[in-house]
Symmetry: C2
Amino acid sequence: MSVRIKDIAERVNRSITTVSRALNGYDDVSPETKQLILKTAKEMGYSPNTFAQRLQKQQSDTIGLILPTFSPRFSDPYFSELLAGIGNKAADLGFDLLVSTRSPGPEENETYEKLIDGRRVDGFIVVRTRKQDQRINYLLSRGFPFVAFGRTDDCDRFSYVDEDGYFGMQLIAEYIAGLKHEKIACILPPQDLAFSEKRLAGLQAGLAEFDLTLREEYIREGDLTQKSGYQLGGELLDLPDRPTAIVACNDLMAFGVMSAAQDRGLVVGEDVSITGFDDIPMSEYSYPPLTTVHQPVYQIGGMVCEMLIRQICEEIQDLQQVLLKPELIIRQSCRSYT
Amino acid sequence: MSVRIKDIAERVNRSITTVSRALNGYDDVSPETKQLILKTAKEMGYSPNTFAQRLQKQQSDTIGLILPTFSPRFSDPYFSELLAGIGNKAADLGFDLLVSTRSPGPEENETYEKLIDGRRVDGFIVVRTRKQDQRINYLLSRGFPFVAFGRTDDCDRFSYVDEDGYFGMQLIAEYIAGLKHEKIACILPPQDLAFSEKRLAGLQAGLAEFDLTLREEYIREGDLTQKSGYQLGGELLDLPDRPTAIVACNDLMAFGVMSAAQDRGLVVGEDVSITGFDDIPMSEYSYPPLTTVHQPVYQIGGMVCEMLIRQICEEIQDLQQVLLKPELIIRQSCRSYT
DNA sequence: TTGAAAGCGCTAACAC
DNA sequence: GTGTTAGCGCTTTCAA
């Protein structure tokens, strides 16, 4: 039913080799033959069988992305944007994108293993890196190509793109401290994530410039969802000596905190100041609009993807390590403490 | 470097045929041989070359999903949840998921064509259906397997899962009308989308039960983003004879409308009532929490995926058409008009 | 119960 | 410039 190279060969009375060469643009085919072949191929509606090509070439022209889905309700605007960035770039460069969704854990590792063993992908993009990242260790141990979005505790052995979360939180800290807040609370990402301690450290460093420290009781650890922001923000706000500013380590949690504050009759940006991190589109339309740190997620997706593909094609050998300087986006969720 | 069936064959002194049969669980292999082969395969760390299998079997065990990304900043929590639903189900059933991201238009169609012609996928999941959907017409004309999430103007020729948006909007209408609102505005999805007119019709039908009609000047068409909700909601609120309730056709636009109202010093759920559609997680944490209609997107993703795979495997021949009854989720963004 | 051989559709080394 | 041939790794007839 579908046209093969052989069919074309028979039609033009040439060998399949010649057809193959013409199709692949080799120049050891006479112009006339080439013309003829190209023309008939088009007429017959030929298109190559991808799997035959891949089997022969021993490469899949496919990159893998395994999304860590924490909850069943994996509804994260951040990831859909990242996906678009990766997907569009991959398509531009002629690569397929194979996506798997697994929750972190042993099953996740098996998925990596399976894809490698079945030779189904040429490389991976690893997202949401952990401090000690078994996925990365595994990939490293097998010498399999990958690029990470994010660093780890030990990241001089692989290529990555990351945003400088330390610096980003420093900006937040300076901003909040500049607003004269002193009772500052923080809701951290899960501790095992690589960016968790960097953000905390940045916050502390920024605060230190103003001779401020973060009180132990003001630190909480969330899971990056609105729900946990709501819960932990509530706890913080119910403290006898309530913080006047709450720094959430991502926008989603910040929205949860806002909601908790509003439930308690507090006006966000008046009675309590709240900040986020990521600058997802929603943060421009929350009430009040959220002060946060921007991450160019779409572009990062594109960069990571391109780096990986170049690595696969061996256009680059060296490690590439990119650290982006984030930008503070001031909106209306904070005000000066008086 | 990687183990092939041939290597195992040599090791156990059997033909590759026998090895293949043992590995594939055929029962015309003696138990001992089978044991031996399985054992050595494991020892040698054998795993089959996917592309060789696929070439031979003439099927890809892969389903395709082409996400329509409207804006470069494709940040839609709805889709990440859908993706998780599809992805997890696909993995469970042993299928790969190939994801492409393209903005609607000619390029999008080429992507479908390319994947089919290269025999890279066995079927597609089509999302965000249009009234006249060229993607679906194309797939139908080629007789290529697919299942749609959503209907079209002419949808008795293919399998789909859809939520009954007509009914959903009826619920909204009845709720709003029951709250004594009369000046009710509506922000529709883009007209070319299939669910657009269904939602409008449902709204009108629900209103009609209360002898209410939708005024022409109160109808707007958005693009499903917060931004357009903000813009159009603003227009509506600036009307000399301002509506008292604004029905947005998805949650994201509803958030935009809320933000526009708040910018104008209006209290949402007091001065103006606002509703959404989808019930994305954010709608529970907006200020105020949003009254909306629930869509079980994760489950829908799973259903659609399973239907497609059954269709591919020819376990089902008949068309499957599922229409889900939605549920109204009442939160705090509306109040009785007095 | 096993094996030889053909073939899936393509590429490439080599010879002419 | 073109064709012959082998081979990518696997499955599956067919014959023994």
